[in-house]
């Protein structure tokens, strides 16, 4: 369709190359080693994740992307400690972790704010759980609320906020615990396109200004390229690492880059990986059985 001459997504400018060299020299925050996850289903064992290995460096922004059923949500839930892997290890700062903990903050697609707490109390929740005094927690919380620009809404309840605002509170709540890594499970999936774009910029802004490593799950290719340093591409059935792509789009990111050659080249590569061209014998019967149904006296030949 498009005959644009795109560079290879593997081509990196010196600036970008230099950044990746420096990034890889930073300490490893999260390391996943030989992670497997099987589910016992009605039709026997289903392998959701198979031999996942990757490393995330300090202050890196990693996006995980893959077709539906590739187990990306399972992966992040295992990393958050909400599910146990069948085998394999995950190391945080070199130490093995089990079960959920405040060292790995999580932002869910469904906001999951506590409806009975005000914005401020929601953000204070984790800080208080850590055993900090109420006063300290309150002070801490207000700083994070200010960071996400919701100071005016500190006393509001979640149901009084819009979706984007709720997700900002959820981010503040996760960050207030000062986790080593922020896990985000399609956090902007439920938002409309405009709010989503705004939230992406907020997130980048926050990421720039604080010491946080982000692992972000999405199914939106543009979102992945726009946000990530590196993109972990999974493939489905079973969920395996297909490729770890170093995004050649220079940092800092801005919306104008959506049409830059590097951006489009990366997108093309992702398209190839995630939506491969279906071959004839690949048809598994999942298609519309199209017959043209118009009345005999319909004088419109075709909609075009």
């Amino acid at each position: 369709m498009h005959h644009l001459e795109l560079p290879s997504y593997l081509e990196q400018s010196d600036e970008v190359k230099d950044r990746f060299t420096r990034l890889k020299q930073r300490p490893v925050v999260l390391e996943v080693k030989g992670l497997n996850k099987d589910f016992e289903g009605h039709q026997g064992t289903v392998t959701a994740l198979k031999d996942i290995n990757f490393k995330t460096h300090k202050r890196e922004f990693v996006c995980v992307i893959g077709p539906s059923g590739c187990g990306k949500s399972t992966l992040i839930r295992i990393l958050a400690g909400l599910e146990t892997p069948t085998s394999g290890q995950m190391l945080l700062d070199g130490k093995e972790v089990h079960g959920p903990g405040p060292d790995r903050g999580m932002v869910f697609q469904g906001y999951t704010l506590f409806p009975w707490l005000t914005v401020k109390k929601n953000v204070m929740f984790g800080v208080e759980m850590a055993g900090r005094g109420k006063m300290a927690a309150e002070e801490e919380a207000m700083q994070w609320i200010e960071l996400v620009g919701l100071t005016k809404f500190a006393k509001s309840y979640p149901h009084e906020l819009s979706g984007g605002m709720k997700q900002r509170v959820a981010i503040a709540r996760a960050l207030a615990n000062q986790p080593r890594i922020l896990l985000m499970d399609e956090p902007f999936g439920a938002l409309d396109a405009q709010t989503r774009a705004k939230m992406q910029n907020y997130l980048l802004e926050i990421w720039k200004n604080i010491d946080i490593t982000v692992l972000f799950i999405t199914h939106d290719l543009d979102e992945a390229i726009y946000l990530a340093d590196r993109i972990l591409v999974l493939k489905a059935h079973p969920g395996e690492v297909e490729e770890l792509i170093e995004v050649p789009v220079p940092q800092p990111r801005s919306p104008e880059q959506f049409l830059s050659p590097e951006f489009l080249a990366t997108k093309k590569r992702l398209e190839e990986l995630i939506h491969p061209v279906e071959t004839e014998d690949d048809s598994n019967g999942d298609h519309l059985n199209m017959v043209r149904m118009v009345s005999v006296d319909d004088d419109v030949e075709s909609v075009f």
């Binding site: 959920p100 405040p102 869910f108 999951t112 506590f114 009975w116 984790g126 759980m129 149901h159 996760a174």
Partner: protein, 321 residues
């Protein structure tokens, strides 16, 4: 307003229409009752004798079946004797609205027939105490157990099968046993209410607890909440509004057990008053007393509903109690 607006599926009516219909829901039954009571040709199967005429066994103020009255009138006219006179009337067990309305006052002012009997307000107070203690004791154990059963599979497996079985045993069946163990005063009545409420309460509350969005618990865990903190900082506040609604419904059930409970041992409370008044054929008092139960129940519920909105400010304004 067209009919399509009145019957729009799952759409709220305009506030004024809503109030009008709420009033109507009380006016309609009252209207039917009034029609039956005040319109002589609707029902009225009896005749209230005002003048016995020549019929020897008729007396003034006596209620006789209309057929009997007609037959005696025909007989009297054939014999040329004085005709009995009377007006159509309803059976004694259906007093007219104004009589019941008056009874709301007179029931309180009527002195008990015997010295050891209680005034109506004393009987009512007895009933309220029995309800309160029964519901309180049931909730004291039922609420925590329900929450625990809804939270921990272990507690659920341990208690719920038995509770499930026990709730099918009718509470009144334990009447004799309760009296044998607890004596004849308030205690066995409270026990019946506890038995009637507790088992339902555990199941209803454990179900409510299970409906808590599990992602809230997951979120809390990723924020560092553990065991007890999860229970007290997430589960309890998370279900408290639904729990409160459950309690209001359960309190209504407790009232339905009251009547049975009060017949056990020495009859007491509002039930004693009702049976006593029915024995004296003061059906206006009976109706008034029954309605008082309804009014007390509805008022408590409305007050609790109003309170709930104040205690739980995070409830959506649109969620009507």
């Amino acid at each position: 307003m067209s009919s399509s607006q009145w019957f729009a599926v799952r759409k709220e009516l305009r506030p004024r229409s809503r109030v009008a219909i709420t009033v109507m829901s009380f006016i309609l039954p009252l209207l039917i009752w009034s029609l039956v009571s005040y319109v002589p040709w609707i029902w009225h199967p009896k005749v209230d004798i005002s003048d016995p005429g020549s019929v020897p066994y008729f007396k003034e103020g006596m209620l006789v079946d209309r057929e009997v009255f007609d037959k005696e009138s025909v007989t009297a006219s054939e014999q040329g004797a004085a005709l009995p006179q009377g007006a159509p009337a309803n059976p004694i067990y259906l007093p007219a609205p104004h009589e019941v309305a008056a009874a709301f006052y007179t029931a309180f002012s009527t002195e008990p027939k015997r010295r050891n009997e209680k005034w109506l307000h004393e009987s009512l107070w007895d009933s309220i105490q029995v309800i309160f203690w029964g519901f309180f004791l049931s909730s004291l154990f039922g609420v925590p157990l329900g929450i625990l059963a809804g939270t921990y599979d272990f507690v659920s497996r341990l208690f719920e099968p038995f509770v499930e079985f026990f709730r099918y045993l009718p509470a009144p069946a334990f009447g004799a046993l309760a009296v044998a163990i607890l004596g004849i005063h308030h205690a066995p009545k409270i026990a019946i209410i506890v038995i009637g409420t507790f088992f339902q309460q555990v199941l209803v509350i454990s179900n409510t607890t299970r409906k808590l969005d599990p992602s809230l618990l997951e979120a809390a865990q990723t924020l560092g909440a553990k065991r007890l903190a999860l229970l007290f900082k997430v589960v309890v506040p998370g279900i408290i509004t639904d729990l409160y609604k459950d309690m209001r419904i359960l309190l209504g059930w407790a009232w339905t057990y009251l009547i049975v409970a009060e017949l056990i041992g020495s009859s007491s409370g509002i039930t004693w008053f009702i049976t006593q008044q029915a024995r004296y054929k003061n059906f206006d008092n009976v109706f008034a007393a029954i309605m008082m139960i309804g009014i007390i129940g509805l008022t408590t519920d409305l007050i609790l509903g109003w309170l709930g909105k104040r205690i739980f400010p995070w409830q959506r304004q649109t969620a009507r109690a």
